[in-house]
Symmetry: D2
């Protein structure tokens, strides 16, 4: 393993620090940081004192290598040479999405604990959406002793929700429900518009976990004095080690699949 841009870190084991050129020359596979840049100019390398410019020179250096990255489309948009790279996007893999649902759910619970002045145990929690995050978040909230309501659209999901011991809420009649202490949204559509917020969330805390553009009208929430949080990229924030290990295991699975 060769690294660059990590001068301020000390490693155990077979990790060598070299410069960018050396790292690229010696390596078959290259893993780029996520996001690749924070300023659209230099490589995102918070543990380095030096700046590496993200330009066509940089891209040329990488041509011919197998490169793992997240959010491929952001990298391609950086310049013409970048579109020639052999980019493999781990953030599009099913494994990445499922595993990230765990730190996302825990991060959401940590936020809820910080913001709510009661206990999760005994509170009424609504989870909107029953995809990967919805399933895991509902499971964890119940594990803490919350009364868990899950809002979904599909009849088969509503049946399954009930069997698992949650209270199913038909998303089409969501506006008629009340009494939620905490609302977690996982649906990337405008579910919690001004009208819905006014009807059901006046005394709630609202946490939006859906990827942008999200599913909560935050402006309306603010106008209605509803405490609401747009929680993006939780894994890296609340569980950086776990987030790194998820990238590692996804990349290893991708390499294994390629070689088999």
């Amino acid at each position: 393993v060769f690294t660059t841009g990590l001068e301020n870190v000390s490693f155990n084991g077979a990790v060598q620090k070299t410069d960018l050129q050396g790292t690229v020359n010696e390596s078959e596979y290259i893993i780029l940081p996520l996001p690749i840049t924070r300023d659209k100019k230099t490589l995102n390398a918070p543990l380095s004192d030096r700046s590496t410019f993200i330009n066509n020179e940089f891209a040329k250096l990488l041509i011919g290598k197998k490169i793992f990255c997240g959010l491929k489309e952001d990298i391609i948009s950086l310049g013409v040479n970048f579109s020639e790279l052999n980019l493999k996007d781990y953030s599009k893999e099913e494994e990445f999405a499922i595993k990230n649902a765990v730190p996302t759910s825990e991060g959401a619970i940590e936020l809820a604990m910080q913001e709510y002045d009661g206990t999760i145990n005994g509170s009424n929690c609504l989870v909107a959406g029953f995809g990967r995050i919805g399933k895991i978040l509902a499971h964890m909230l119940r594990g803490l002793g919350a009364n868990v309501f899950v809002a979904a659209r599909k009849p088969e999901d509503l049946n399954f929700i009930e069997i698992l011991g949650y209270t199913p809420v038909n998303i089409y009649t969501l506006k008629d429900k009340k009494g939620f202490d905490i609302i977690f949204n996982t649906i990337p559509k405008m579910v919690f518009d001004a009208y819905t917020l006014a009807k059901i969330a006046i005394d709630s805390i609202v946490i939006d976990l859906a990827s942008l553009p999200g599913g909560v009208d935050f402006e309306a929430a603010s106008r209605l004095h509803i405490k609401s949080i747009q929680a993006l990229s939780l894994p890296g924030k609340v569980a950086p080690k776990a987030a790194g290990e998820i990238i590692k295991s996804t990349v290893l699975s991708m390499i294994a699949k390629e070689e088999s």
Copy 2:
């Protein structure tokens, strides 16, 4: 309901703000703040601009009333007149202790989430002690998907721990175990002394929930570069509304018992 020292709060319903004299005159039962004072001179009243001195005058005013308080012994030590008061200590009630185990456990989990850079799900958590807090904390950790180890002394507890699906650890052989990501202590005895910490906790985060003097040698932990936290009075810090409601329901139970 009459209140004093809450000038900066607005109430709904039948709550009247008066001065101390008025409040005492009108009330049959009086609830003191917890702790009663933070400076040993004036009444603990963070939502008031005025100071009320905690002196013999103050005590005299209260003689003959039924007074609910926490930590009775601290109040009695304030002066001679205080020992004549009819003090009923809610913090000694079983109900208070059990209900507080919930915000204490959630607060411990919130701390663990903040300090640990992985996820609780899939982590190895040791809970030392299987009293009220140990039981509820282990239940919640498992609900989040942790591998839960519970250390106890009594054979019947160890049997019960296993039946509930946790891994039992005999506290006498604790020194031979390893690999805990997070250690929660609930035993108010020196269980995690320097030797035990060095043997089992070098790579762990240690959170001590036991009441003072606690069960962790924090000086040794610091010397060993073990991240360790003495977590006291969690309910009021992490879930103030819940903490207040627990006092309310305990006091109501005490009044009901008295009247029956």
Copy 3:
């Protein structure tokens, strides 16, 4: 509600018993028994003393009615007039399948309790397959305190299995595992062939829940002295009331969908 063939039952409420002709004439919707016949000659009506022949006359009577049934293809194969009927098969509905997974899973657990001379709590249980039944069965077994292993094929399922706290088993390496007290199969393919049974199931009880032709080589199991059970149509056997209610709610959903 009109009924025929239930002479030996007493009803509360607005249920009228008439003859077949009367029932058909008065009803807009007709629900046939499941299975429609046990002898390929007469209507399946265990609570009646009379026989109703399942012939073209019978079919003619039903033409023009909306008829709810299970296993439509069995009915159509009864004769030429049956294919002209307006048959709506509730057993093909997602709701029916999901809800039946509950009595199926409980029936499987009841069988396991009867056959296994230890306790489910603390036993090692393998669930092969992570579809509807696999998910609910694994959930219930863990709820009883079993060590639950779930075998699946898809990487995303294996990830999800681990997050939910079960031990994932790659179905391709199933042959290398051992030590299962009870094996539940839910996969309708020959997963447990003679070789696999000999390798992993010599000391196990094997319960096959997959629809015919099933996934266990019962002949081999018998030769190897492995206790094995083909458990078909569990809902009607172990929880007849629940089974009936599932048909009712599925039919009502079908009518509601049709009318909307």
Copy 4:
């Protein structure tokens, strides 16, 4: 290990079959069958063709040995020489009682599954008593997806019941509750007398797990046409291997304690 009265069993490992005299001579510790006799005349030995008489001769043979047994008082009542024996009763040990709560709870669930024509999942189950069996049974029923109500007397138990996610029922107001599909009693007092049964159990199945004299008026239940079951000695019936292992581990713990 020496055995007698097991001629019809084949053993693996270091087990020798001898006659009674030989077994007693060679052994330091002796384990008697439970119960010791079924006819008050001969030793309970269902796997032997011969009869061993339980008389003073028999007792004399055992004098001076350390003898493990269950239900000591039944043995002492057999004759004068029996009271001179060094009897150690494993059935009085805490470990025995706790571990037996597992097969007892599972046996109760198996009975409920057999008798109830719905599913446990989604049913309303009342558990009366929150001792060892009550705690484990409630835990398992919830694990299957039942709505679990737990009736107890002590306020601290009622608080704990609520925290664990069950619905607490004050046993003094039990008569005012309704709608239970299955009632499990674990309290060895007459809790379910004729009046209580008539008020709350008309449509319920009642399973009494309390040791004799039990807590259900079965005569009244029969008069009221309530399906009720007195479930005694479940471990040996539903999980004989588990029951045997519990005796083994309890005896080993007793020997270990003695030697330490």
